[in-house]
Amino acid sequence: MNDRNLVRGLFLVAISLAFGLESLRYPIGQFSRPGPGLFPLLVSCLLLLIGLITLVRSRFGERAHISFNLKNIALVLLSLCGFALISEHLNMIAGIVFMVFCSSFAGTSYSVVRNLKVSAGLIAVAFAFQKLLGLNLPLY
């Protein structure tokens, strides 16, 4: 599976199948009365075709190495989702602090003092947004 072109082909085929099979559940209609399923079905068929071409070509072309570093993307996503969840259930100040502390694990160095400073700065910015621009932020 360590072949970029192969993975790309599989990825495209997977997306086209996901959308294409789902669109079969909607009324297709006829060309004179197109239903909601017709257009997505046409587009996913085209995408499936491109995916298959990519797959076939990957058998002949050179293999390209693919590298994933799941740690960083996971940390970034975790801090985004954490921010949203905490802001929804607690308040946004806690969300900001969580996001700064969580995401900076992905950085090159980790410093609690710096994180506190960044959080304080961002909270100040958030207050400015709320008070000066009238953004509706659930800060507290």
């Binding site: 970029r4 993975v7 790309r8 990825f11 495209l12 997306i15 086209s16 959308f19 789902e22 669109s23 909607y26 009324p27 006829q30 060309f31 004179s32 009365r33 197109p34 239903g35 909601p36 017709l38 257009f39 997505p40 587009v43 996913s44 995408l47 491109i50 995916g51 071409i53 990519t54 390209a64 693919i66 994933f68 570093n69 960083n72 993307i73 970034v76 996503l77 801090s79 985004l80 989702c81 921010f83 949203a84 929804e88 900001i96 996001m99 995401s103 900076s104 992905a106 950085g107 090159t108 160095s109 710096r114 994180n115 960044v118 961002l122 958030a126 947004f129 621009l133 009238g134 953004l135």
Partner: protein, 497 residues
């Protein structure tokens, strides 16, 4: 001559001290808010709309349009320096960000500023000469014609993508499919929503743009561990004469493309910038540099963006149809002030119409004056170490996503697209065509189905109408040309080896 008389009349209104002040305030505030990564023109105008409630009508409209242009320019700054785009600055991410990586941020920002000025000026000429009649062009376009126009837009994919054509096409199709998520306009059916309520309104363009560009870019920088070195050298702002000579033709091309596309409903800045980029990649003398930080890649799209932003006022003011969300908001502002935009506006409120046109140009001058000296302050972003910068960028991405609908659920969507964008990047798939597909897809579907309904399923309708027939013919010629060029290239290669 009548036009000159009208323009003079307009300047008389725009150049009163009070209106000048409103214009200056609008541009400044708009730029400042637009600069914040994640807040685009739409968010900025909706945030600042209440500011204008208490102003006199003329001043309020002048200030709002100032906010609009300011926000648009500010947007391109965050796209060029940090690759965090908004709808109107997606293309600036391609060459603009490359220029930043090459250490030419100052030049890129200056180019964007001066090209916007050129684009705005050309658009104002178009606006004042043609606004009274041009609005009617939009009436000539039927569903089949729009369909053909959208397809022509897809041809742009082959230019916008930096990688292989096949991958660009794939990404564009994925974009079209993503645009299908939500409620079907024709039948009211929920599609691809997986029974989640917050998806019934579709996925926001902002979520996709911030996820695929902003979040993915942050993660890539973190993966590479390349702490961007704080920038302390002297900032080169002014272009050399040779560079300047490259900006102008490209900016002019972009202005013409932008002015035209801005008039068509559903067109507007977003599509105009892609089209201008495509035109530059085909006709520029330096087309081989496009994608790796060419000045033309910034100049053309900035001019088109600005020109389209202005000419998109034409359908609003001449026939009363807002062609995109920003214009709908402007229309709301008109109505709040008791003015019904439409055919009677030019005749009924000539002072407002021509005053607005004139103030657009004044606003342009303000933007230029404001931004050229301030570019070095925008650049101070680079003096912040990345370990401080990236949590802040994440925060701004969150706020930007949230502020569109005041909905925290949108942040989850951004996160999903952050991951998808990361996958795309690792798989060598380019995200710009995806956004093009996402923007054009829903319009293409709507008009495709409408055209088929009207013609009772006859595909000949697409070829027999004069406008759509011509456009489809152009697409055909273009494809033949591309294929011929491609096979010629391949033959040359084999001959060489």
């Amino acid at each position: 001559m009548e036009v000159l008389h009208n323009l003079a009349f307009g300047f008389e209104h725009a150049l009163t001290l009070q209106n000048l002040m409103f214009c200056a305030i609008g541009c400044t505030v708009g730029t400042l808010v637009g600069l914040l990564p994640g807040l685009g023109p739409l968010a900025t105008i909706s945030l600042l709309l209440p500011l204008t409630y208490s102003l006199p009508t003329g001043g309020a409209l002048i200030m709002l349009s100032g906010i609009y242009y300011g926000a648009q320019y500010g947007d391109s700054v965050s796209a060029i320096t940090m690759k965090i785009p908004h709808a109107s600055s997606i293309v600036a991410c391609i060459d603009g960000y490359q220029m930043t990586l090459n250490g030419k941020t100052g030049l890129a920002l200056f180019t964007a500023g001066i090209s916007s000025f050129v684009g705005g000026t050309v658009a104002i000429v178009v606006l004042s000469f043609l606004a009274p009649t041009l609005g009617e062009v939009a009436f000539l376009f039927g569903p089949a014609d729009y369909c053909a126009l959208m397809l022509l837009g897809f041809v742009c994919v082959s230019f916008v993508t930096t990688g292989s054509l096949l991958n660009g096409m794939a990404m564009c199709l994925i974009g079209v499919l993503l645009g299908q998520i939500g409620t079907d306009v024709t039948s009211g059916m929920q599609r691809f929503t997986m029974d989640m309520v917050f998806l019934s309104d579709g996925v926001g363009l902002v979520s996709i743009a911030l996820g695929c560009f902003g979040i993915a870019e942050i993660t890539k920088n973190l993966d590479n561990r390349n702490e961007r070195t704080p920038f302390n050298g002297k900032i080169k702002l002014m272009p050399t004469w040779a560079e300047f000579k490259r900006i102008i033709p490209s900016a002019l091309r972009g202005s013409v493309v932008g002015s035209f596309l801005g008039i068509l409903p559903g067109g507007g800045p977003v599509i105009a910038q892609f089209a201008a980029y495509a035109v530059d990649k085909r006709f520029s003398k330096y087309k081989h540099e496009m994608g790796s930080g060419a000045i033309e890649g910034v100049a053309g799209q900035a001019a088109a963006d600005e020109a389209a932003a202005r000419t998109s006022f034409i359908p609003l003011m001449s026939i009363g149809i807002p062609e995109n969300a920003v214009m709908a908001l402007m229309m709301a502002a008109f109505i709040i002030k008791g003015i019904q935009p439409g055919p009677n506006m030019i005749a009924g409120h000539p002072d407002l119409f021509w005053g607005l046109v004139a103030s657009m140009w004044v606003g342009n001058c303000f933007l230029l004056i404001l931004n050229v000296p301030l570019v070095r302050y925008w650049l101070s972003v680079f003096k912040i170490p990345y370990s401080v910068l990236f949590p802040s960028i994440l925060f701004f991405c969150c706020i930007g996503t949230y502020s569109v609908n005041n909905n925290l659920d949108d942040i989850f969507i951004t996160a999903v697209f952050g991951f998808t964008g990361y996958m795309f990047m690792r798989l060598d798939l380019d995200a710009a065509p995806l956004l093009l597909g996402f923007i054009l897809g829903p319009m293409l579907e709507e008009n495709f189905r409408r055209a088929l309904l009207l013609s009772r399923g006859q595909f000949t309708a697409f070829f027999t109408r004069p406008i759509s027939g011509t456009l489809l013919g152009l697409i055909g010629i273009f494809i033949v040309w591309q294929v011929a060029a491609f096979s010629l290239q391949a033959r040359n290669k084999t001959a060489h080896s």
